[in-house]
């Protein structure tokens, strides 16, 4: 039994069944003391479910969990914490109108002699210590709503550290971080590892996994596929195991843009957010917009689409000067906008695939307010086939689809309107490699049909792989523009982080 002590955690034969789907099918997962263990798989593969079982959020239908060679029952998140298991969730889950310190110690507030009363002094002192472990120099009394997203993510990490966890689960912690912050996070992770803490790391970014992880476990469709030491395996192997098939070229770039300008922006300015932005977009062109989070990329898209007003500037569509005051007007002029947050600002999660796809064209497909359901059905089925949307039927609720398929549903809705310009804001965030490739193919095909595409993305390989031209935004200004031939990660990062390439 002594040799088993190497494992701090072993989850044996875990089965978890949700209505209609077996999320975990006899999965066995073991983690060693003080290792960084990456967990990869497509969306719906079961990574998050497995970790939620560990964190006491989901209870397994069968199987056992051994912690430090003792069988434990993890019935609730509170129990998991008291066992030294902490989870950082994918979606930011801080409470906006509480302070940083209050968020870190929520549910575990240091108290005075009478347990009811919080010892604020102690709480903020301890919070300060936790933050300084992450090199964060912010006042723990600041309200979370007043700090940037990236810092909020680090507060999540501080929160996880503060319970003195033996095992920390990180579900895509870097999705909102800049490179610099990611580096700090990685340094902290290595430091924790040296202290004997085990980190279970879920990420879609394979480069990160090769940089930080010691071992990697691949899940697919609820099954455990493999666990390997990271140096024994290649990126291609992982992808192959994840998708269960050979993946073609990730970035199919066939299309060539036409010479006809479809959208032109001149001198767009809005307060401190946007400063004298000018660019043009041709028919069939994919224009990448790169920059750090908060640089003004989304703000630019929102201004173009008539969501936010701007102070100065002109917009031309097909050469005509236009004023766009609302999304409604934007749509009528042939603009489409796939928002960054598909769940909050795009989909009707509780409604069906058909309803989500056809809601934009209901008017054309009804008479006197009564929709022609057979026509809507045909239309929906056409898109499902054309875009390879994986859904059991057209009546499935969208919230039950995977992230990639949800994104396809949203794109289908826009395509219904035959847009001339489609703005995509982080279209592949949080979706798996297989679905990403399909979305890239789709983008290329749309460009081939003559649609002008503006693609906002934080992932450099993606923006380099898919764009005909890239502009880089920093603090609301354009700091660089590159054609496809000139593109490189270094150049983009330099413009994004420091404001331009030395022109000397």
């Amino acid at each position: 039994m002594i040799e088993q002590n190497n494992f701090i955690l072993s989850m044996e034969n875990i089965i978890k069944i949700f209505p209609g789907v077996t999320a975990l099918d006899d999965v066995t997962f073991r983690a060693e003391f003080g290792e960084i263990h990456a967990l990869v798989g497509e969306n719906g593969a079961g990574k998050s479910t497995l970790m939620k079982v560990l964190a006491g959020i989901n209870s397994p239908d069968s199987g056992s969990i051994n912690l430090d060679s003792e069988i434990v029952e993890i019935g609730s998140p509170g129990k998991a914490q008291s066992l030294g298991i902490s989870m950082i969730h994918q979606e930011l889950a801080l409470i906006p109108y509480l302070t940083v310190g209050q968020n870190i110690y929520l549910g575990r507030e240091p108290h005075r002699k009478i347990k009811t009363f919080i010892d604020w002094k102690k709480l903020y002192k301890q919070a300060k210590v936790q933050l300084s472990r992450l090199d964060m120099d912010i006042d723990p009394k600041t309200l979370v709503v007043n700090i940037p997203i990236a810092q909020q993510q680090m507060v999540e990490v501080a929160k996880a550290l503060s319970i003195n966890a033996k095992i920390i689960v990180m579900d895509e912690p870097t999705s909102a971080l800049t490179d610099k912050e990611t580096k700090i996070l990685f340094r902290v992770m290595r430091h924790l590892k040296d202290q004997g803490i085990t980190i279970l790391y879920i990420s879609h970014r394979l480069e990160e996994i090769f940089e930080i992880a010691d071992r990697v476990t691949v899940l697919r469709d609820g099954f455990h596929i493999s666990t390997s030491i990271i140096s024994d395996i290649s990126s291609d192997d992982i992808v192959k195991m994840m998708v269960g098939r050979e993946l073609g070229d990730l970035y199919p770039k066939k299309n060539v843009p036409q010479n006809e300008c479809v959208l032109e922006v001149k001198g767009l300015s809005s307060g401190k957010l946007l400063n004298n932005i000018s660019f043009h977009l041709n028919k069939g062109e994919v224009l990448g917009i790169s920059g750090l989070i908060g640089a003004g990329r989304t703000e630019l898209a929102r201004a173009l689409f008539g969501i936010d007003t701007f102070d100065h500037g002109e917009i031309f569509i097909n050469g005509d000067s236009v004023r766009i005051r609302s999304p409604r007007e934007a749509i009528s002029m042939g603009l489409g906008f796939l928002t960054e947050d598909r769940k909050e600002q795009g989909l009707f999660l509780g409604m069906s695939v058909r309803e989500n796809i056809t809601i934009s064209v209901l008017k054309e497909f009804s008479s006197f307010g009564f929709p022609f359901f057979s026509k809507l059905k045909t239309l929906t089925e056409k898109f499902i086939k054309q875009m390879n949307i994986r859904t059991p039927n057209i009546h499935q609720k969208v919230k039950n689809l995977s992230g990639g398929n949800q994104q396809k549903v949203l794109i289908a809705r826009w395509l219904n309107l035959n847009p001339r310009v489609l703005i995509l804001d982080e279209p592949t965030r949080g979706i798996d490699v297989g679905a990403k490739a399909e979305i890239y193919t789709l983008i290329d095909r749309l460009a081939g049909d003559g649609v002008g595409i503006i693609m906002i993305s934080s992932e450099l390989p993606e923006i380099i792989g898919i764009s005909d031209r890239v502009i880089v935004i920093r603090e609301g200004s354009i700091t660089g523009e590159f054609s496809r031939e000139e593109l490189s990660q270094d150049k983009i990062m330099q413009c994004a982080a420091t404001g331009g390439i030395d022109e000397s």
Binding site: A93, I95, E109, I118, V145
Partner: protein, 319 residues
């Protein structure tokens, strides 16, 4: 630079209501010489204190992202029960008051259970309980006022300690307790957490259900207490006491800067909000505007307060 701006916004959000109250007091005292007379001011605080006590309890429910529409009916029922027990059954007054308070808290427990275990939205659950409580009040009083409770009972609504009416002193005590709960206890922090993000609160190991049930018990407790004070002030329990009071309590809460979406605000603002409503009513009386018009004006002010709340939230999101 940026930090300063948010500081100013926070400051405005926090103290704008107090400034509005100050401006109202100054302009009303310029309008009418009667306004600043001590008797008038004491009258305002007496009238306001009952709404303010209910509004403090309401603030707890709104902070969790809920609402309690049953407060007006609970007031009437508990006032009637306390009076009835004294007059009809000859209970000692403190036994009667205690009984009425316990029943009030019990109704709050029921509200909480319906919301937490029955998964009924707070709006619907408390609306139903509002109808039930009002019905029970009418049954119990047979539609007629109950009076003759004796001086010891009436003292709680009409008596004074020094120059201050007893209900005003009780308001002060209730406010103090609420402040300590919200600012210095774990339960208080958890109320904000639940209102801010229920799922996060649950994942942090907070017992949301228990906290929420407790919040509705607090709300009903303050309503029951206010009902007893009102009965004592009017010397009789009216079967239709507290009709429409939920609106005033919600308005005072929102006017006081507590967000209807939950997670932001506090009872200090609520008390100021209640006083704004009170001063306004008094001012309108002095200006000889009838009660019917006053209702219209109160409704409009409520809408403005909610709009202000939504507007400042939006600004925050942008910034």
């Amino acid at each position: 630079m940026n930090l300063k701006e948010t500081d100013i916004k926070d400051f405005l959000r926090r103290y704008s209501v107090a400034m509005i109250l100050l401006i109202m007091v100054i302009s009303l005292s310029l309008f009418s010489w009667r306004f600043l007379r001590p008797a008038n001011l004491i009258n305002i605080s007496l009238q306001t204190s009952i709404v303010a006590i209910v509004a403090i309890g309401m603030t707890f429910t709104i902070l969790t992202g809920g609402i309690d529409l049953s407060v007006g009916s609970v007031m009437a029922l508990c006032g009637a029960l306390a009076s009835g027990c004294i007059v009809r059954n000859g209970f000692p007054i403190y036994t009667a008051i205690l009984l009425a308070l316990i029943i009030g808290v019990g109704i709050g427990f029921l509200n909480g259970l319906l919301i937490v275990k029955g998964n009924i939205p707070p709006f619907v659950a408390t609306l139903a309980v509002m109808a039930i409580s009002r019905g029970l009040t009418l049954v119990y009083t047979q539609g007629r006022p109950i009076s003759g409770m004796g001086d010891d009972f009436v003292y709680w609504g009409s008596g004074k300690i020094g120059v201050l009416p007893v209900p005003v002193i009780i308001l002060f005590i209730i406010f103090l307790i609420s402040y300590i709960i919200l600012r210095h206890t774990r339960f208080g922090l958890h109320i904000y957490a639940i209102g801010g993000n229920e799922e996060t609160a649950r994942l942090a190991g907070i017992n949301n259900d228990k906290s929420k049930i407790f919040v509705y018990m607090i709300s009903s407790f303050t309503a029951a207490l206010a009902g007893i004070l009102l009965t004592a002030r009017l010397w009789s329990a009216q079967p239709n006491a507290g009709v429409g009071l939920e609106l005033e309590a919600i308005a005072a809460t929102v006017l006081g800067g507590t967000s209807l979406m939950g997670g932001y605000g506090g009872t200090g603002g609520t008390v100021v909000g209640a006083f704004i409503m009170g001063v306004l009513a008094n001012g309108l009386n002095l200006l000889e505007i009838t009660a019917d018009y006053q209702r219209v004006i109160k409704g409009i002010i409520f809408i403005l307060a909610v709009m202000f709340d939504i507007y400042t939230k939006k600004e925050k999101k942008k910034g």
